[in-house]
Subunit: 260 residues, 4 copies
Amino acid sequence: MTKIKKYLHTDLGHSTPDKITVRGRDLPSEILGHLNLGDMAFLELTGRMPTPQESVTFNAIVVTLVEHGITPSALVARLTYAGAPEALQAAVGAGLCGLGSVFVGSTEGAARMLSEAIPAGTEPTRPLADMARDIVADYRARKQIVPGLGHPLHKPIDPRTPRLFEIAAENGFSGHYVALIQAVQDEAERVSGKSLPVNATGAIGAIATELGLPWRIVRGLGVMARAIGLVGHILEESQDPMGIEIWQRVEKEAGGPRQD
Amino acid sequence: MTKIKKYLHTDLGHSTPDKITVRGRDLPSEILGHLNLGDMAFLELTGRMPTPQESVTFNAIVVTLVEHGITPSALVARLTYAGAPEALQAAVGAGLCGLGSVFVGSTEGAARMLSEAIPAGTEPTRPLADMARDIVADYRARKQIVPGLGHPLHKPIDPRTPRLFEIAAENGFSGHYVALIQAVQDEAERVSGKSLPVNATGAIGAIATELGLPWRIVRGLGVMARAIGLVGHILEESQDPMGIEIWQRVEKEAGGPRQD
Amino acid sequence: MTKIKKYLHTDLGHSTPDKITVRGRDLPSEILGHLNLGDMAFLELTGRMPTPQESVTFNAIVVTLVEHGITPSALVARLTYAGAPEALQAAVGAGLCGLGSVFVGSTEGAARMLSEAIPAGTEPTRPLADMARDIVADYRARKQIVPGLGHPLHKPIDPRTPRLFEIAAENGFSGHYVALIQAVQDEAERVSGKSLPVNATGAIGAIATELGLPWRIVRGLGVMARAIGLVGHILEESQDPMGIEIWQRVEKEAGGPRQD
Amino acid sequence: MTKIKKYLHTDLGHSTPDKITVRGRDLPSEILGHLNLGDMAFLELTGRMPTPQESVTFNAIVVTLVEHGITPSALVARLTYAGAPEALQAAVGAGLCGLGSVFVGSTEGAARMLSEAIPAGTEPTRPLADMARDIVADYRARKQIVPGLGHPLHKPIDPRTPRLFEIAAENGFSGHYVALIQAVQDEAERVSGKSLPVNATGAIGAIATELGLPWRIVRGLGVMARAIGLVGHILEESQDPMGIEIWQRVEKEAGGPRQD
């Protein structure tokens, strides 16, 4: 059985009749009107206000993940809304449930790889190229793909990656982790003979680790961002629906005789 | 059967090998580094960039809804994470499912009340006090509570309300809808003899309507904001858990003999 | 604020080191091997063992709701599983979220209509045809459709309805509620001039009310049954997937130029 | 990118205006009134009708998983319902999201362990005690706990296990898999010096594998069963609530000063 503490406590927020405190700050006077939504997310996750550089960089990585057109998560939200339009919140909740190991959750793989190689608060103890060689060899030995490299659609490069790295560099967040994932790219391309550029997932995993976020919560950046995008899809679905049409097309085809 | 269109289209976003377009704008060059997360949500919902005034006002209303301490939604996310820590996204999704008619979803009631009284793009056709009298009488006749007024904890006033109205006023969004909900407060207090100040829900419903958002999507503001807060709760739960302790306390008490 | 009790209690089940009790019965010795899954659901909802007649009838109505081919809920479960195959439970959970007012949840409308007309434990106080006339007039006055009548696909009749009514009759559950929904059908057809036979939703709502289930939980019959069906869809998806293909087709079409 | 097929097909069910077919059988005439809910689940998962022995055994294992008192999943469903009583289906869906690696999902670990040791359709190639020795050594080498053994509450034994094994034996399903998990228990107890009896999770994993179910879907048995239990909890919550009281207790305690 999981070890448990015997008292209950949160540092995130609490309320009294005349005060609402979030992360130790008075919500009305210290937060509202002063923080944008990305800054608020940074405060929520780290317990402190972002610097201007952190603000720009953190906002950029979460903004990247808001909208990527018709994704499985967008289809799930739309199809759920079609059946229960009175429960918009459940349509967003359902849409988030699929952000697992295959899609958005994969940012966590890159962050984990990097933060396990160079633990938070430490300096690299040997050349990054050596680390990259061991990392790639390890994934190949386990027959797993290296996270954060390559993209099925965006070729030759993922157009988000250079822009994210540019923003990180301009704001002082192009350190060991960004360098290491680029070394991993070089090594993976060398041993495979294929083009495997860092994708948005890899760039976000690296930059989030530069910002000091623990890898276990990096998937959460995609989850919070996509929640915004899914509200957008539901608004469009309410005005210009596609859910029922998709269902009817699939039902008609899939209910017929097998074609293989 | 729901009327359906026979083609599928989205205006939100699409991708080609070398471009990612969101709401008609190039994501890397026009959005990343330029928009904060609240601005991105505004773009996603409205299809256009916010003005500086819209940016401040919109960010303030969504920031308000991110964190409110231990709420039922936070408990749900934490208890779900305790059982499935490998699926953080599902813990957030589960937490959102309860943002319905009783809690966060109630913002939609205020927005609907106001936008049905003064349809979008029109001017009030009679004094707001007259409208307020009819609105309050109508809710009382249906034995329903007027949305957006009073608060069980925050007394005598909800400390978020004056600050939100101040930000709205400073940015030019203190128009008919803000005035109308204040008139509704006056009328509700007059007929009930009780103190029923506009709460954060009411203020957000009014300001969202000032910003031109349709009432059907106002609940979505709370949903997207709370998704951020729930990621924060899961991070804390992963470091300093309370889910298992709560479960064990409740199980022990509730499995005993009935006490009434 | 919702009125609350100050102690916590459940009658459903509790455990000690050597005993597991469900609804007052010893799970290993009194339930396992004695009750089928539908009987267990009946015990869970009512607190008592079903009679043989209740067992057949209750099992029939929940079995009806397990599988209906490719539905929006099945698509949601499959698309969610495609993104997070490690979290099967979240794929089922997501699929259930859309069983709201438009689809499966609609059984509750029929049950509510019937149990409000003839409250549980009472006899009809006037001819059913008179009740039916008032019911239909009331829905028409509110411009709402009468629940439980007609079907977009199953014409001229829903093939489940006569079989469900036959099972109910054979087991002594063809009472006032079944008669009333048939009277409602007659009246609705008379005033509309259209064929509006009782559909499976209406039959299930009527028979569930005959069985004494409160209307607020009737939607839950579809939810529990569909959870079984969704596990079946996920098993098939794991062996013979369609989620990714559907996504790619929709993305390709919907990302193109508008066609209207 | 996942390899995909280019056509869409399901064997589960389809409908025409006058027929509803599930797994190749006519729903009204061949299923309704003939199958109980557990048999229907068996048909849905396997494509064939259960024998009487399969029916008793399969129903017993799913019935076991319906209700276990106040669990985290029950709390999640109740807290979600408290916020969105109009969306019962989302409360059940939220409750299911936590049935992951820590709780109910753990049945899959036992089924996987057993079916990887003795692949479906094969005979054991060496003594079960030898297999058990290797299995336990392997888990210990990976510093993981052996699935399906021991229980934090039910001591010295889980009262469900002997009854489930008895039902399996009476119906001809006490074969290699049941024998192997018992050998694993013996070995684990030998090397650890602790009492580690097979728990309900282990018994269900073994019996499900005896029934020929693939390990990837065994977690689904708990998911479908618990969906039924959660509807029961929501019904009780609607009549005798605990969600709000739990929330208020936790909020009051957790919002205070840290106690460690």
